[in-house]
């Protein structure tokens, strides 16, 4: 029972990280019908920027652990958002009228560029986050010991997802994003500046992906310039699992995938962890390509 609960909370924490990354894939797909293959690398950039900010400014001298994490998260989000917006401007906007495949190739190129840039700047070796940032102690909930870091990751991610959901559902810009995802031409006829909507999506998605990178750094302590590839693929799987283009779908898909993976690692074999993820992807594509929450469209002619 203890193993089950440990793996469940672990899966939820990892899953919430997948969910944060998956949101970037799904939002971009929603408005542009493009899989942003560079998104995983934006996540890796977030992890590295977090490390740089942490070590160069020595934030932990001035702030408590929570303060450090909050300041760090805000800074990483801001910086990665800017990288995302520049990416859109440079690699995708010039191809807006081109064939869809051109943008996909451009995305792959951007991914290779970011990966190599990270390697050149930070080196190819694993980098280690300082381990004295967050308290090591565990919280006891109804007799079960759960590491504080795990709870923090889960809590922060859920908070961000709720904030995003409210933003998308309740605000004017959020409604404009949804409208542009449904029908760009109709959105233009409403007076919505679709280019600006796309820009906003490329600020929000990378911001969430970047903060997910920071969380992985804090949670696992180790980062590598190729980490964006595997996390990107898993988050992409999560987005497909939930239904690509669907925001609640990405959240559900991420959490679910995290739990499936953790359970598979515990009860089947840890060596099969990644294989299980991709079996899920293949199964979804065969059985329900629209994903769990995808395309609940009620369109009457």
């Amino acid at each position: 029972m203890d193993l089950f609960l440990q793996q469940l909370t672990n899966g939820l924490a990892v899953g919430s990280i997948y969910a944060l990354i998956a949101l970037g894939y799904t939002m971009v797909y929603g408005v542009l019908k493009l899989i942003n293959f560079a998104h995983g690398d934006l996540f890796a950039i977030g992890a590295y920027l977090g490390l740089t900010l942490l070590t160069t400014f020595g934030l932990s001298q001035y702030l408590g652990p929570m303060g450090v994490v909050i300041v760090l998260a805000v800074m990483v989000m801001g910086l990665v958002a800017v990288v995302g917006a520049v990416l859109e401007r440079v690699a995708y906007r010039p191809l807006r009228q081109a064939h869809r495949l051109s943008a996909v190739v451009s995305a792959m190129g951007a991914s290779i560029f970011f990966q190599n840039a990270l390697m050149l700047v930070y080196g190819a070796r694993y980098k280690v986050y300082p381990h004295d940032i967050l308290p090591k102690n565990a919280v006891s909930i109804m007799g079960f010991e759960i590491p504080l870091v795990r709870l923090l990751v889960l809590l922060t991610s859920v908070l961000m997802m709720v904030a995003l959901y409210l933003f998308i559902q309740k605000t004017r810009i959020g409604t404009a994003i949804r409208a542009a995802a449904i029908d760009q031409r109709a959105a233009k006829l409403m007076g919505i500046n679709v280019d600006r909507v796309i820009m906003i999506v490329f600020l929000i998605g990378p911001a969430l992906g970047g903060v997910a990178g920071l969380m992985v750094g804090l949670y696992y302590g180790q980062i590598n310039f190729t980490m964006g590839w595997m996390y990107g693929l898993k988050a992409f799987t999560a987005a497909i699992l939930g239904g690509i283009g669907n925001i609640p779908g990405a959240m559900v898909g991420g959490l679910l995938l995290g739990v499936i993976e953790a359970m598979g690692a515990a009860y089947i074999s840890i060596a099969w962890k990644d294989a299980i993820t991709f079996m899920v992807l293949i199964a979804i594509l065969i059985v329900r390509p629209t994903g769990l929450l995808g395309e609940r469209v009620a369109d009457k002619v």
């Binding site: 449904i182 006829l189 409403m190 007076g191 469209v297 002619v301």
Partner: protein, 242 residues
């Protein structure tokens, strides 16, 4: 405002889709308070003309002036701000958003809450059905209701001119009549209307003036009564019977 009450002036515009030219120099004008109809067969360029006015398609030649200002150089979303609203062909309501959200999106360019509220009440008065279904997803509405929503959504933008693209398409005759009555009512309240229609007879009965398009050109321009009486128009667009 241009002189002699001309609200919209389209001057010799050309539009291309890739290598194919769809409009070869279309010229027309709409005066304030008018209903002008644009007739023609499928593929004549009626929708393209409306979309060029709205900035969805860019013109390669010619000019479009709205109340004296060039608008063919503006992006689509700014043209809406100037007071040009379109009810697109096939309605294009946002199916997975509620009726109310669709209407709110119509008012996307207006920040004046009081005005948006009064516009909403006006739209609900015009189409009580929309008020009843405010919380429902637009995709679950019937075709006629979706058309009402598309018109209501366009009215929420507080337009000075309303462009309607095939509002009767796919609707039952009774509904077509209701929609046309509404267009007349909207026009009487002071809104200028451009109406693209397949249903030429109904359109000409409603309109003040009309243009006939053939393969990317305007071939005829007259008052609606004259067009109704024109033997060529009768033969080509009115089924030959009087």
């Amino acid at each position: 405002m241009g002189c002699d009450g001309v609200m919209l002036q389209v001057e010799n515009i050309h539009v291309r889709y890739g290598r194919v030219e769809a409009l070869h120099g279309v010229t027309l004008e709409v005066r304030e308070g008018e209903i002008v109809t644009l007739l023609g067969a499928n593929g004549a360029g009626k929708s393209t003309t409306l979309n060029a006015i709205c900035g969805i398609f860019k013109t390669t030649e010619g000019a479009i002036r709205f109340r004296g200002d060039n608008i063919h150089t503006l992006p689509a979303h700014e043209i809406v701000t100037r007071g040009v609203a379109q009810v697109p062909e096939g309605r294009r309501v946002f199916g997975t958003l509620s009726v109310r959200e669709n209407l709110n999106l119509g008012a996307y360019t207006c920040n004046d809450n009081a005005r948006n509220q009064s516009n909403l009440q006006r739209v609900y008065a015009l189409f009580p059905r929309l008020a009843e279904r405010a919380g429902q997803l637009a995709g679950t509405l019937s075709g006629g209701e979706q058309q009402m929503l598309a018109i209501g959504r366009a009215l929420m933008a507080n337009p000075k001119i309303l462009l309607l693209d095939e509002p009767s398409l796919g609707l039952a005759p009774l509904l077509v009549k209701a929609i046309f009555d509404t267009i007349r009512e909207i026009n009487r309240s002071g809104l200028t209307v451009v109406l693209v229609e397949q249903n030429a007879r109904a359109a000409l009965k409603l309109a003040h003036r009309g243009y006939v398009m053939e393969v990317g050109r305007i071939v005829l321009e007259d008052t609606a009564d004259q067009l109704l009486a024109n033997p060529d128009v009768q033969k080509a667009y009115l089924g030959g019977v009087r």
